[in-house]
């Protein structure tokens, strides 16, 4: 049943050796260092449009998809409500913080509103997860999709807190130490820091008892119970962690657009997160970010590209859908899987596939 499991069997050559050192990932991988340096000096290379519309947006979407990767890749639970949790956190920042809708927003300073939003989003996601784990496997998708859709319709109907379909506008962003943190360059660095933190945390926890137990639950829940693990408690805890990560991304998202409305939590957007994670590759934390980059680039440039090759520019979603189908058909490990297969076909003697994650 597990896509991720199939992926591992296909992608890893039989000779793959697990690095014995339990060190930080990719520490010996020059490509990873180059990517890190490029990300750090990005403001020198890219202008404001690229910095925010492409790279910051990629990192935010990637972090939401990372929370799904944690659940699906390690825990075997495909949750379609991760964007909903991010959106909930975004709404809570707008509701507790300062915005143009003075009759709704409570006007708390950001350093109170954000922890509150994160706590509530984590609670929301944990409760949703507790519902979802009452059933097994494929039901998870249905229940989390229903939760996401219910939240979308609810925000549309509710005016007291969520301000109906107009949403909450001109949400204020933090200013302190004399810096406007929503200015392009500081905001980029905040987003980069949060994304890096989440990425390394997920990477790290995969080798910690919690993460290993989660992978055990994915592979064989019955055996995990026979080893003394409370399987459902582990699953719910995974939802809690994933919800916190999604909540962080949601806070960044509302600061990025300075507004939040039901359109941002629509069912289509929920499914986009799944597409991003699957297209990037759902077995390791870097996948969601790669998927997000592909998605954002397509979304931004598909219009021009489609017109250039003589097609209707509005067919962006068709392109996304077909691309997603192609990935699901041909690579169960997303573009990373395709890339690794290509590299192996180029260098049959390769001792070790790229990516360098500590384990499968």
């Amino acid at each position: 049943m597990s896509v991720t499991h199939d992926a591992r069997v296909q992608v890893r050559p039989a000779t793959a050796q697990r690095p014995t050192a339990r060190a930080w990932p990719d520490i010996n991988n020059p490509a990873a260092w180059i990517v890190a340096v490029i990300l750090l000096i990005m403001p020198l290379i890219a202008n404001g449009f690229f910095l925010i519309e492409i790279f910051a947006t990629t990192l935010i979407l990637g972090t939401i998809a990372l929370s799904l990767m944690l659940l699906a890749g390690y825990g075997g639970m495909v949750s379609l409500m991760q964007l909903t949790i991010a959106g909930f956190a975004a709404y809570m920042v707008a509701v507790f913080g300062v915005s143009g809708n003075a009759n709704i927003s409570l006007g708390w300073p950001w350093w109170l509103a954000v922890p509150m939003a994160l706590a509530l989003a984590t609670m929301f996601g944990t409760l949703g997860g507790a519902l979802a784990v009452r059933t097994e496997g494929i039901y998870t998708i249905m229940i989390t999709l229903a939760i996401g859709a219910a939240f979308y319709y609810f925000t549309n109907q509710n005016w007291a807190i969520f301000n109906g379909h107009t949403g909450i506008n001109t949400v204020s962003t933090p200013h302190f130490w004399g810096v406007n943190w929503r200015a392009d360059i500081p905001f980029y660095y905040i987003v980069l820091a949060v994304a890096a933190l989440c990425y390394f945390a997920v990477e790290y926890v995969s080798r910690a008892p919690f993460g290993m137990a989660l992978q055990g639950v994915r592979d064989n829940p019955r055996r995990m119970a026979a080893l003394g693990f409370n399987v459902n408690a582990h699953r719910v805890a995974a939802y809690a962690v994933a919800s916190f990560i999604a909540g962080l991304a949601g806070v960044l998202q509302v600061w990025n657009y300075r507004q939040i409305s039901p359109g941002s939590v629509s069912v289509g957007a929920c499914i986009d997160v799944l597409i991003i994670a699957v297209v990037g590759g759902i077995t390791r934390p870097i996948g969601p970010y790669i998927g997000a980059l592909v998605f954002v680039l397509l979304r931004t440039f598909a219009l021009d590209f489609l017109i250039k090759i003589g097609l209707d520019g509005n067919r962006f979603r068709l392109l996304i859908g077909l691309g997603f189908l192609a990935i699901v058909f041909w690579s169960s490990d997303g573009v990373i899987g395709l890339w690794q297969r290509w590299r192996q076909s180029q260098r049959p003697a390769a001792s070790r596939p790229g990516g360098g994650r500590g384990h499968g």
């Binding site: 499991h5 697990r18 080798r207 137990a213 119970a225 026979a226 080893l227 409370n230 499968g360």
Partner: protein, 260 residues
């Protein structure tokens, strides 16, 4: 091992495992009917019977994989009938599976480490185990005990069948087991591997009792002191190995009823 001794003495001389009228239905089919049995602490017993006799269902009821439809199960005096599996495991019950139930994506070492972690605190720990982690050492010890040290960093999916069977046993011996259920540990093993299995079983500390399901009489009778014979979901005969082996009814049943 101190804690085990303490827990044992606290319970006194009661039974390790006590089943009263355990019945398990699957729909209208009774896989287990009115099974009553008592096993002493440290006792080693074989459960014999043809396919469909209810042996594995018995294990599933004892560990809680499937709860019994009726009857009670006591583990060292405590009524565990309605406990979830993990609560029983944390009290010192262990089991292996007839078809290896391992974590193929993880390494041998990590499989055993998970087993050690499952019966100790810190299951939800977010900190990676360091070099000095006590459970890592415990896992190392277990890996050596089942002769898998040479392959401890390999992924389980890459192991040979016999090695996977040995890993099954290692997972069941993690922590401080008080009673173990072995479900056909010798299935599919070569003669040499069977010999190793017998050595592992006979060298277990004396306070660890077990029940073993085994079709191979030669293996079973060398590692147990008592035998329960099952037939059609009921207990058919109980006794010493010699009695059972020479019992004419048992012989007829075994020869007529699908001896493998």
């Amino acid at each position: 091992m101190d804690s085990v001794a303490q827990r044992l003495s606290a319970v006194g001389a009661g039974a390790a495992l006590e089943l009263r009228g355990v019945t398990r239905l699957f729909g209208a089919l009774a896989a287990l009917t009115d099974v009553t049995m008592t096993v002493r602490p440290g006792e080693r017993r074989a459960v014999l019977g043809s396919n469909g006799a209810g042996k594995t269902t018995l294990f599933n009821c004892i560990t809680g994989d499937f709860p019994p439809s009726s009857g009670t199960i006591r583990f060292f005096g405590e009524d565990v009938t309605h406990f979830p599996p993990y609560e029983r495991i944390r009290r010192g019950l262990r089991r292996t599976y007839q078809i290896s139930a391992l974590f193929p994506g993880l390494s041998v070492q990590d499989n055993v480490y998970l087993a050690c972690r499952g019966v100790s605190r810190g299951r939800f720990s977010f900190l990676r185990p360091g070099q000095s982690d006590a459970l890592m050492h415990a896992a190392d010890g277990l890996v050596q005990a089942v002769h898998l040290a040479a392959v401890k960093d390999q992924r389980v999916a890459e192991l040979a069948h016999g090695q996977q069977r040995q890993l099954e046993i290692a997972l069941a011996l993690a922590g401080a087991p008080r009673f173990v259920l072995f479900d056909e540990p010798a299935a599919g093993l070569s003669p040499t591997e069977r010999q190793e299995l017998i050595e592992i079983l006979t060298s277990l500390p004396a306070h660890i009792g077990y029940i073993i399901i085994e079709h191979d009489m030669d293996v079973a009778l060398r590692v147990v002191e008592s035998v329960t014979m099952m037939h059609n979901g009921r207990i058919f005969k109980e006794g010493l190995p010699q009695e059972i082996q020479s019992d004419p009814e048992v012989q007829e049943l075994y020869l007529g009823g699908g001896h493998e």
